[in-house]
Amino acid sequence: MPSPIDYSATGTVFNMQRYSIHDGPGIRTIVFLKGCPLSCLWCCNPESQNPKPEVMYQASLCIHCGKCIKACKFGAIDPQNTGLVNHTKCVACGECVNVCPAGALTMKGQRLTVEQVIQELKRDEINYRRSGGGITLSGGEPLLQSGFAVELLKACHAKGWHTAIETTAYASAEAIEKVFPFIDLALLDIKSLNNEIHRKVTGVSNEIILKNARRISEMTQTVVRVPTIPGVNASPEGISAICEFVLTLHQVKTVHLLPYHTYGENKYDLLGREYFMDSNVSLSAEEAEQLKKIVEGYGLNCVIGG
């Protein structure tokens, strides 16, 4: 007897992206959950890291009407500040976003119930069916909101939708055991086997990740994804180490190499944060192809770009 689904469970969602075709089979909607225990230097969704809702400001849309200044009760709107919002004062109450007529202020992260998310996901239900697609949970780290995630996943399964998760695997064993019975496909991020490097670029140790990776591969179909970053792992040694680890997992046959890009760079400005990556560093197509050959040398399928 399956446990009943709690449609009123709430989680913090920062985006739902429809017609996603690179994160699992078919046409999918990605639900981005907010909050991440890692803070990877290259993160292209920096707005996903803070578990709390945040106000984002896009200067190009601002019409300088001043409504937000009046609306803010915390003095967090500072026209002298290039990013407008003083994030140390801001409590993300959302008053300024509500009054902004131009859409220049947006709230990244909204408390939504399972029911509300399902209503949005349902809009592409026919596309999932026609394309063999479904839902992908991403983040942030979706396992950080495992209570919400599990109710949402149960609700998706109740609708007959395929479920996938993009995860760092940095989570408690309880969260893993709770969530993965409702996952059809895990897209598991492995950044580096070298713990020293891992700590430096993500802020956390890789021990828990590597341990969970094994358990996840036993629980569901798993693909390992490697954000391929020059100076971190985009080297024959870095990739070989990851492949050797992949071979120790349960029935993992596929590795995706996700070449580093700087698409997220401007978001750091919008959030009033600093971008530590060198934006001139990038991975050429030829370099990516060479790394792919290494992966294939281990008898693994390799896809560039996922």
Binding site: Y19, P101, N127, R130
Partner: protein, 845 residues
Amino acid sequence: MLAKGFSQPTQRVEKLKRMILDATPYVESERAVLVTESFKETEGLPVILRRAKAVEKIFNQLPITIRDDELVVGAITKNPRSTEICPEFSYDWVEKEFETMGSRIADPFQIPKETAAELHEAFQYWEGKTTSALADSYMSQEAKDAIAAGVFTVGNYFYGGVGHVCVDYGKVMRIGFRGIITEVVEAMEKIDRTDPEYVRKEQFYKSVIISYNAAIRFAHRYAEKARELAATEQNPTRKAELLQIAKNCERVPEYGATNFYEACQAFWFVQMMLQIESSGHSISPGRFDQYMYPFYAADKDITPEFAQELIDCIWIKLNDVNKTRDEISAQAFAGYAVFQNLGVGGQNEEGLDATNDISYMAMEACAHVRLPAPSFSIRVWQGTPDEFLYRACELARLGMGVPAMYNDEVIIPALVNRGVTLRDARNYCIIGCVEPQCPHKTEGWHDAAFFNVAKVLEITLNNGKARGKQLGPVTGEMTSWKSMDDFFAAFKKQMSYFVHYLAEADNCVDIAHRERAPLPFLSALVEDCIGRGKSLQEGGAIYNFTGPQAFGVADTGDSVYAIQKHVFEDKDVTMDQLKEALDANFGYPVSASPAVPAGDASQETELKVYEAVKKILGNASSINLADIQKKISAMDFSESAGDPGKYDHLRRLLDSTPSFGNDDDDVDMIARKCAQIYCFEVEKYRNPRGGQFQAGVYPVSANVLFGKDVAALPDGRLAKHPLADGVSPRSGKDCKGPTAASNSVAKLDHFVASNGTLYNQKFLPSAVAGDNGLKNFASVVRSYFDHKGMHVQFNVIDKETLLAAQKNPENYRDLVVRVAGYSAQFVVLAKEVQDDIINRTAHTF
């Protein structure tokens, strides 16, 4: 691998294609001279007989041209991709453009001096005798005022002959023209002389017999020409080909075809002759795979390779046909579009899947030839094999904008709702841009008018006035509206007023054709003209419709929603503020040029200079170049010359209102309602052929041209900027990806727009790459159709390519894009149309 790839065409096909690409389009005069001579000779005879005698004279005397390397012969003009003129419908616009047609921006045609002189001479006869002159004399001043203000235009049939029809090609292949003559003779013998319609019927039958006998002789002249060429041909292979061509033309279309090659030749003769009889557009081959397949299946000797080459040759011939229009219409239909719509796939009359070998070979031909014609369509339904749809997506992925895809699950019930029988509805084909009809049983009068819904909105917002002049009824100042109910009451009243005059204008044109230009050759190939003894123009067809198409639906929906949300719901804008801003065009000068994408200042300036020159030339009778220079330098081309700062806040507020195309029910349902108001108003009217009016929602590329007539709108659009195309969201306004956009579009009521709807989606190649991309592409189509969308077509092309083609057109002559209901060479389109295509949102992630 799902993707199969496409093979290379033969060298012959490559050569023929090169001929089309290298051709300089000319206007030729033979047909105009012949029809004029004939009409001078037949004064006093019944009009239908005069038409038949004119066709006879043309078929007897039009020059016979067989081009090098052709396997399927028959050319309307001596020069490839050129045009004859049909002065009996209208001519003054040709005369006006004798000097300029060769150098105009959209669709130039060369008119040599001698040709101009011959045409000028012929035109003298037609003063006051054309269909357009008669239609004009019938039309009320109110209708003319509405046309002048840009509310609608009935230009297609006003200026040209009747087209937009699909005839019984299969019948010609089965029984030949002799068989048709026999049928007519039998029908004539059967009529009782006391039948009150006897005389009229007899004249019709006689005119058909005259036309078809002449048509047979016309084909025989091709046989003679082929033998003549063979006699002096040195190359033995070509000599044998010419002798085979001669044999074919002796056999078809006089008699039925005995093999696939003859069927191809018979097809082409019919397609060509229809376009000699009249200047009508959109003579659509329709379900090519259905009537060609029996001849392919029964042909034991033909190789698939040769059959493919013959089909390719037909595709080339379809591009050899060309038509000229006046300068303004040429902009609306940019790209030498002739709209010969040819489709494959779908169901047969029994409701079973009808896909066959020819369906796939037709797709291969599109990939081989890669020219704008035919307007290529596929039909899709629940029973369409996945393989067929994948193949179609693979073709679409080449980026030529074909095939357009049509949903049987919407079109069949939509036609049944109009009184078409289920069997006939299942057999529908597509005409012109996107118009469904039952082939060879319908006079659909499709493309009856462009109707500018956004202009009606503008007039509603101005209490019935356009450019300060009272045009529609007085329905109240917008500042007096207390609720959306008040707005909709006013909008409906204005709509009702203008659709009334639209129907009147269309019917005036309809009657003018009946009285001055019934078409006997065309009529005999449409049921049940022979049975009824009536031409198509007199109501001889089984199904009769009139289909005027609307555009500007997304602009209207977005604008109306902006009023609802800001004035009545959020109350952050007052009607007075809105009215002031609209009157002031949001503080911008009313520039004649639509927005030009940033980053191309030189072209922008060039365009503005061009517009300025046009304006000055339009006002001054004598032209002084120095004066022009002075006026240009005095003109302010800066968009910020007004006071946009004052309205900037308001405009951006309006502009950021949720808009159609993002799967937002609130605004989508408003757009649906606005489109329905038009559709339900249109279907109230009846035409002189005994049929009903039915609305369509598609723009060709009129959304750019007619956008120039529309003032600023509450969605933040500035005056004169392009409107949204077809049922697509406004350019760049669909931000949630292709599934959200197509969900929005599917929320419109496509069933009541039974004259067709048009939805353009653009994908960048990366979004549809690989087998997965192909599957997802097909899924987008299937899903849109599950949601009951009617039509969708794709431009799979990257923006850089388009921008590069704009800069260096000479390097991109083979770049074919979907404009609206048709494809065209990108580089021959007017810059504004090019910009519009570039600005349509590119969906990729």
